[in-house]
Each structure stands twice: as C-alpha cells, then as structure tokens.
Subunit: 343 residues, 4 copies
C-alpha cells in the first residue's frame, strides 16, 4: 500500500468558525475543505494569480443573470474602480437595470409567492423575488430611444457603431443626467469613467434593444436613418483587444451569450492567424451543469479541446449562486490586495 501515500498528502483541515477574522480568512480556510467551498477558495486564488501576474493579463468579465436587481452592481463597480477587470461582456438586461437605477427607477424586495395578475394590474414587473415599476421602466426606455435620436442628430457619423460605443454613450448619459447619488454605484458610469469597454453582443435582446426599436420605427416614419448597432464591429473590436494582450483571464458569472462570447474571442484569434492562444486563467460561478451539452454549463476542460482555454489547471468552476459567491470573492481579493500594498 506504499504507493497510496502520494494520494494522501494534503489533509482536509476542518474549518474553525470560532476563530475571529475577516471574509478573506474564512474563504482562505475554505482552501482546505472540500466540494464547492474549496472551489470558492480556488476562485480567490486564481483571481489573485491573474491580478499579480507581471504580464498583466487582460481580464474579461462575462455577466449574465439579473445582477443589478440582485444588488450586485456596486461589486462590479468596485471591480472596475480597483482595476480588477478590463473588459465587460454583459447581457443587455444588466446594463439596462443599471441605467434604470441611475435614473431613479429602483428595484424592490418582493417575493415569488404572489399573484402575478395582481402585480400586472398594478404595473409591477417581477424578477423572481424582486419588483420594479413598469412606469419607471417606460420612462427609461423613452430616454434611451431619445439618446439614439440625439446621437443620429448630432453625429451623423455615428449611424453605425458597436454596442461598446453605445454603452459608452449610456455611461456618459448617466454622468450628465443620472441621479448624482446613484452614479458612484453604477457600473456603466464607472466603466465609462475608467474606460473599461462594455460589450453587449445581444443588445437587441433587452429593453435597450426595445428602446432602439422605438427609435427605429420613429426614424422610418420620419424618413431618417436609424442608428445601427453593428454586432460584427463588436467582434472586431474585442478581437483586437485579445490580440494585443499578452495574456488573458476570464471570469464568467453565469453562462449565456457573455460566456460564449468571451470564449469565442480566443477561438477567433486562432481562426484569424492560425495561432492558438487560449485564455490563461479563469473561474466561473454557475448553477448550470455540463450534462445537458449546452455552452452555459460546459467545463473549462471542454474549452481546451477547442483551444479556447490554454490549460485547465489554471481554471476553476464553483457551482453556486453568483449573488453569494461573487461578493465574497471580490471582498476576499480586496482584503488580500490591501494587505499587500500596506507598507
């Protein structure tokens, strides 16, 4: 049984919650536990590795789900402000909800155990256990439609832009017209301010897209040319970012388009120049699973076959709701980083 010893080297160390400490202490002690708590700790570890790599990897954040109604926008803003993320790829919903709150259209704690017909009668939209005002949303929609009108009016050259450029304009809009006290929390505003590009590959598939449809219909009625969000221009722009990066790291919050889009950037690079430069680091927080064969639930290991992932040992998946895992990870990373910068 001598050979068995190499499998029995690192003991699981029972976690001791009586020891005082900070969030990072408890997460670091998760490193010696098992199952998803160990994976959560590995996310922190890999995140720190990315941030401390002297090659300064470009960090892509893929953002699915409804992170703003979930109260997560400041976490993302912190990541931007603290230079913990370089490029964001998101669903339109996350950007839209962020914009809405910056214009005073807030989200409220509700419940899934309600009469949705009654909510509808009262103009309340439900997102699982969270409520919002339909009226408020419509106001925001109209402002976005008007933004498109204005962009066309003032800068006819803007008639064909990437989604990245449009979200940049949304960030500027928040700066100019958003509630002063809400700007600091807005990730669109922070991204605009810190020049972090925000891509929304499926922009049409969101309330921002609906607002642009209003603009489109209005334009066609008046005979003017509507703005065009050129999704292939997005591909080109993000490809250029990947190409000019020495290394890259990825963070996936949920799956969907944002995850696939960031994965495919590495693949596109291979298509264009024959090189295979998969991403170098990454972690994902997901509640999906690989057995259904969809991209949302796929493992980093699968990404290796495609060349999207360089070596899956520098990647980890934590199966957990992102509303729990993300703030803990970012908090723990901040504490570690702060420690190190102390004299």
């Amino acid at each position: 049984m001598e050979g068995s010893s190499r499998f029995l080297k690192d003991r699981v160390i029972p976690i001791d919650v009586e020891k005082t400490g900070r969030v990072s202490d408890i997460l670091m002690s998760f490193n010696d536990t098992s199952f998803q708590s160990r994976n959560l700790a590995k996310c922190v570890e890999i995140y720190l590795k990315m941030l401390e790599d002297p090659d300064d990897p470009t960090i892509f954040l893929g953002l699915a789900g409804a992170m703003v109604p979930a109260g997560m926008k400041k976490v993302i803003s912190t990541m931007i402000k603290r230079r913990m993320v370089d490029v964001i790829v998101t669903t339109g919903a996350n950007a839209y909800h962020d914009l809405a709150e910056a214009f005073g259209c807030y989200h409220y704690k509700g419940s899934p155990h309600v009469d949705d017909r009654e909510l509808h009668r009262h103009g309340i939209d439900r997102i699982y256990d969270t409520f919002a005002s339909e009226d408020g949303y419509r106001r925001v929609d109209e402002r976005v439609a008007r933004l498109a009108d204005e962009l066309i009016g003032k800068h006819p050259g803007l008639c064909r832009i990437s989604s990245r450029r449009f979200t940049h304009e949304l960030g500027r809009l928040i700066d100019r017209e958003g509630l002063r006290e809400e700007r600091e929390g807005s990730f669109l505003w922070n991204a605009w301010r810190h020049n972090v590009p925000v891509f929304i590959p499926a922009l049409c598939d969101s309330s921002i897209g609906l607002a642009l449809t209003k603009h489109y219909i209005r334009s066609s009625k008046t005979g003017s040319t509507p703005i065009v969000i050129d999704q292939i221009m997005d591909n080109y722009e993000i490809y250029e970012i990947k190409r000019s990066s020495k290394k890259t790291g990825v963070i996936f919050i949920g799956g969907g388009v944002p995850k696939n889009y960031i994965q495919q950037v590495a693949y596109l690079e291979g298509l264009m120049d024959g090189s295979t430069r998969g991403h170098d680091y990454g972690f994902q927080i997901t509640t999906d699973r690989p057995e259904w064969g969809g991209l949302s639930g796929c493992t980093f290991k699968e990404g290796v076959s495609w060349g999207k992932v360089k070596d899956d040992r520098e990647f980890v998946t934590c199966y957990c709701d992102a509303t729990i895992a993300l703030p803990l990870i970012v908090r723990a990373v901040l504490e570690r980083l702060n420690n190190q910068t102390k004299p």
Copy 2:
C-alpha cells in the same frame, strides 16, 4: 372533512407499461401520473391546443443549447414541414451546426471522459459527449465568409440586413451547394423552403459571427463596405409578425437569448401601442430553475406580471433535458394529428 372532497377528485392512475401502444399512448397516460411526467403530457396537450385553435396562433420556437450535435435537427425540420412552428428564434450555434452538417461536417458520438489536450492536438472539438472536426468547421466558416462577400458583391443593397434575411440566404446556400442527401434533414433548408423565418438575435456570438468577422476584416482591408446584420431590424420584423397575429404560442427549448427574445416581443407590442397582448399558449423544456433569478429559468407565472404571458394556465414547464422531451412530444403530437385527419 366534507370540503376536502374537492381536492380529491382526479385520481393518479398508475401507468401500465404492459399495455401495447405507441409513443403518444404512453405520453397520454403520463397525464394521470405526477411530477415531470405529468408536465411532459401537458406539453403535448398544450401543443395540440395551439395547433387546433381555429384562430391559428403564430407559433414561436426558441431554440437554445446544441440541438444539432444532439441529433435533434430532423425533429425541428419535421416541425417546420408539418406546419407545427411558424417562427424560429435560435442561437447561432444551432444554425451553424445545421449548416455544417449540410456541408458534410458531421458530429460524432464521443465521451466527456477524454483527454481534451489530446483532442486539441488532433483537431477535435468537443461538445460534452460529442466530437467534431476543427478542419471541417474551418471550411464551413470560410464558406460563410465568402457568402457575405458574394452578397455584398452581387446585391449592394443587401449591405444592411436582418439576421432573418441572412439565415434565409444560408438556407438558399444549402439548397445550391449543400450535400443533396443532407438537405432534407437541415432545418435551415426546410425553413428556407417553407418560408419560416429564422431569427438569430445574437448572431455575432457564434461561428457564423466569426465568419462574418473574417469578412469584416477582409472588407476593411480592401476598402469595401462589409455587410451589416442590423439586430434592431430583427426586432422590428418580429414585432410586425407578432402584431399581425391574432394569437401566439411559444415553445422554449432551453433559455438564453431565444427565450427572452420571444418573451420580449409580446412586451414590445405593449410598449409600442399600449395594448397588452401576452402570448396565449406555451410550454418550455428546461433544466434551469427560477431560484437564481435569471430569465432562462423563470416561470411563465412571472411572465404574467410583465404582460408577456396572458394567463399562465395555458402554459406548462417540463423540467427535463430537451433531447429526451422534444422528440417524444413531437412524435406524440404527430400521432395525434395523424389520427384526426384519418377519415
């Protein structure tokens, strides 16, 4: 205890697998069981209701996941040919894989328990338990890029089109150049042939999008204007379909953009004209769940609050992998429809 009788009316009838019969017989007997088998039976029931409604509802199919490598493309083709679906909204991956197979780039039975580095060295791309040839895919990518070149060349007026128009061209391409024996199975070809519009709201986020990026880069090098897929034009086109439909039914295979996109069409109609005309019927096959707050896992009941769903009693969710549920449902519906048309 008198009042209790109203809760105890419909007995669960134990299913008898010794009775001979067809797929529809066993699915219909699921109607009297519980849990997800009952929900599977309800999908059949609601599908039949949609198809037999004299108001002839427009049926929208949302298609996420990797349905073609899963061997599901003929099921979708059957739905098209038999007029069981009127509009398709899909991920780019489903369209791309369908196209690839029509050009002889097949998918193969593999396993998730493999060395993905070895696969990568051999040019094999893995989709969970399915393999494909990277070489084959690259050939297809190039053909799509060339299609875009040609479209621009021949029809300069096509420089700005909806994704629906582009998938129509892909169907035509299969008709002209695809393998003869593969056409019948291709859902893009069948959609083209039967004039069923296929929308890909996040077209950029797929190998089709990557091919268009090659075209984009080539065009910019030669100074010509690349094709533009106008995603907001998509929104307008699908809105017009919804608007002109007396009633609508929805089928969601998985979540992601296709599900949200079809849901938001009903919402957009409300935004545009103040009316609230949520979808009338629907079923979804999903492995996601509502508790994470994302749109992919949300219930039809939640859709009622937004006005996207008229009355959730005509909707059902079956929690099951679509590769099991979808063929069974379509087979059972076909058997029932065939029976009725018999003299």
Copy 3:
C-alpha cells in the same frame, strides 16, 4: 490530421420522429443522439445486457422518491412479475404509499400552487403536485400498528425480524384484506407473491415506522414486548444474497438510503472475505449531481475506487426525472424481450 479519424467514427444520426414505431424504436434511435437521450438509450441497452447475461445476475432495485403518488407502482410490479428485478431496497414511503392505495387510500392530481394552510384545514396532505387524505392515511397507520400487535400475539418468535420479513407480512396483509382490484398493481403484493425480497433499511423513517411507534408505545403501556425490526439482520440477509450471486446488477431510481445500501452490499462482501466483487452492471436515473459530494449524486466511476463497482463501462447515469425515464425504459425493454421470445 489522420489521427483524428479514430475520434470521428460513430456519427450522430439525427432522430426521425416521422418514422412510425413503438417506444422501443424511439429509445433505440436515441442511441445515436447525444446528451441525456443517448444515456437513456444506454440504460435500456445495459438493462437488456443484465437480463440476457447467461450468468443470470441478481438485479437490485433501489427506490427513492415518491414513486407511488407519481403513478409508478405498476411499473415496479411489472418489473417483479416479468422477473426484471430480484431484490428491492426502498424508502419506507414507497412501501407505505403502495400499502395505502391497496387499502383504498388513493393519491390525487393536485398542484403546488395552492394555499397549504387551507389544505391542512381540510385534512389534505400534499406531495408536490399530488394530494392525499390525512384521514385515509391514519386508517392505514392504525392497520399497520395492529399488524404488529397481531404478529407479536400470534408468533412470539417474530419479536425480532428484519424489515424484509415485515414487508413480506405487509404483502400478505394486502393479499388478505386489501381491495381486490388494487392487488395487481401493488408492488408489495407482487413482491410477496413472487418472493422478491423488499428491504427498507430506514423503516423507522416513514409512516410505517410511525405506526410501529404507536405499537411500541401501546406495548410498553400494556407491559408486552413490542416487535423489533432488526436493521443489522437486514444487512446480513442482503449480504447473503450478494454472496450467493454469481453476478449482480443495480438499478438506482434516485439516491438516498436505497442507493447507498445497495452500493455498500458489494463493499461489505469485500470487508467480510477480502474479495472485491463489485457490482457488474448498473444504471441510475437521477436529478442529483456529483459536485456536492453526497452519495446520492455520486458517479459509478467513484464507486470503482471503493470496489463497489467492477468496471464503470457497464454502467450509465441518465440525468432525468424518474417519472419520465423509468416507464420508458421498462416499456422499451419489454418490447425488446417480447420480440425475442416470438417464434
């Protein structure tokens, strides 16, 4: 790229639902698809292999969940009658619900979207989307308690028995006092009649256990000795079955105690005589997953390390609700077996 060909041998064959056929035809065609439909087909394949192995493996069925309220009892009865299972290990709930129905205490189609306080006021117990009468259950409880009284009264030697022996007595009770028309469907009755042992390792954890607690309290009041269900005797009895079997196959419907118990029989055999005779074949239908580290979701591959599973290539997991997968599998197996016995 020559080397790649060995990965690209078995093509995925798109399933054709327009071909007429039986349940087994569609399930067999799932063999050439991917994801969970392929795994469902493999369950049928492995089940047939077990049944056709000339070494006549002993087949253990582990039964968790609420299969009787789900309408699955006749499927299990068919498996018993057709000699498709040799030993059953179940939760107490499955046995109790089977007994209850044999005494006319049925289950009814309900809904999870109800006011449970109202149900409680009306004496209705809810099992997800299924209802039952609390009054009915109490009648059955009392009959079970009386059975224990009688057993002790008539056969003082029965004061210490295995759960297997007690479920045998329940089968006999159904034969004597159960509704005539319900006997054929009862799996307890069929097991009793066909001498298929039914083990309930956690008998105390069920309404049968509660009934025995009533008997226990009554006995202690009257000074008589209550019956003892000796759980370790169960272990010994099932160990003897394993030991005398040339080969063994396992079927797990859900996880919990039944799955672990059947797994550990193979492990126990190793403990007792040093041999390692893991199970030879198996399939499981589950909605759990391995990442939480619990036994319910563990893979057969993990079982190999313990010696509980001989070679995981003869095992398959299908991730699906058992109320869908189980009837389909048993139906398909029956069709195949019937075909073969035809002249």
Copy 4:
C-alpha cells in the same frame, strides 16, 4: 398607480464590498439583495430568532451529505458547544467519518479527475474530490465491531438499544481511545460531552452498520446474542423530546433521512395525541429542488399541509452547497451573539 406603492417599499440596496467588516456584516448586507444571497441572510436571521426566543425552542439539526470529509465537523462541534443545537439527526456516514478522524484516519484533498481503478489498486476510497485510506477505514470498522462485542459482554442489558444510545457510546469511545488532539473537533465527542443526543435512523446504511454486521455474524457463529439497534425505540425517544419541548426549530443540511425524520417527529406528535404542533422555525440549505416530488427537495410550504410546519413565514430555504453556506451562517450567528453578550 397608487396601489403599486405597497409593492415598492423595501429597496434592494447594492452590496458594498469595499466597506470593511466581518463575515456577519457582509451576510447582514445580503439581507437587502435578492435571490439566494437574500435567503442566506434570512437563514442567519431565523437562526438568531430561534436562539433568542425566550421559550427556548429545542433545535433539531438534520445532517446529510459527507460533511466531515468536507471539513465541516468543527462547525457542528461549535454549534454543540455554543448550545446552538439540541438534537442531531444524521446519516451514518457523517458519524462514521467523524469517528474515523478521531482515530487518525483522516481525509485528504484529492480530485474527481482521476483514474478510479488506480485509486482502487492503491486502497484509496474517493468521495468526489476527497480521498481516504481503505486500510484506515477497516481499522475503524473493526474497532466499532469490537465495541459492540464489549457492550454485549459487559452490559447484557444493552442488547437492545436505540441508535442514540449507540452514538453516545461512540462518543465515550473517542473520549477514551481517540487521539487527544482530535477530540475537540469531533462532533460525536462534543455531543457526548454536552449530552446532545445524536440519532442515526438508518444506522445499518453506513460503515457503522457494516461493522455491526461483522459483530452480528461473529455473534451468530459463537452462539451469543448480537446487539440490536432498535430503530423504533429511536422514534419513541425523539418523540418524547418533541413532546416535552415548548417550541421547536429545525435546521436541514441537505435532505434524505435526516430531513424527513425531523419533519415526521412533528407529524408523529399529531398522530399520537391529535394535537398539531408543527415546528416553529427553520431553515434548510439544499441543492435539491421540489419539482421531482421527493421529500429531500420539498419546500417548508408543503410541510404546512401535513402539519409538520406551523407557519412557513418563519422558515427559509437557501439553495446552496452546505460547505459554503453552513460555515458562513454559523460564523455570522456567533459574531452577532458575541456582540450581544458584551456589556
């Protein structure tokens, strides 16, 4: 739209991870987020409510999964030592692994991506991503079998005992023979020392049960009477605890027998004396879901119909891996309690 205001009262407050603080601070701020982070915060809230209720509710902890290999045993020990739990119901595995570690048979950090046949050859047992030595386990098994021999030898009156009594003896065994440095972490030892009863309703279904089977077979060979673990005596003992409690709270870590067993205690009380005294408070940490109809995934709301749960407003479910949620909850509760006892 006035009526809508009542739905829009409690704003979601974006969580701010830049604010310094302790674990309890971040968890308390989860109270104003959504989805599972809000539910995690509610677990803390309800736990504090239980602990601060002047009626001093008896708190039952149901423990499924493999919590000890996961490094969670000290968390449970802390709960015992700090009087945060009064009764434990567990799978045999949790008790066995705790015992094993107390005898120096540790668990080690491993990986699911291994060759399990190789592990088997080296005598390594795998629990998802954790390894243990088969040799070590066998030593522990033998010690447990000998304990049963000794109990029978020294105390013939112990021939029929509850599982609770047997785990008490295991605690004493650890006190006498366990490694000194491991005792403090052992939850069995702490439970023994603080007189917290530990029930294992399915004791036979675990390595402890296997050890008792060795004892059983040895006894029968020597003609002596083996020890009997009387599971119905367990039911009686836990029923008496419930009956004598003014109020009760429940904590479910995972599902399985422990959850059902604690739920049914409340139901049994109703059966015995006609009263309905469902549990008063509770929270569960689970990765299962209600749609499969099993007890493991059922909601507290469903428990209301059975009378097992008094009012589901004092109960909450958090969908999360327990290895993440449990240490965070207990840590946060400790911090809050410590604060309050400060002068």
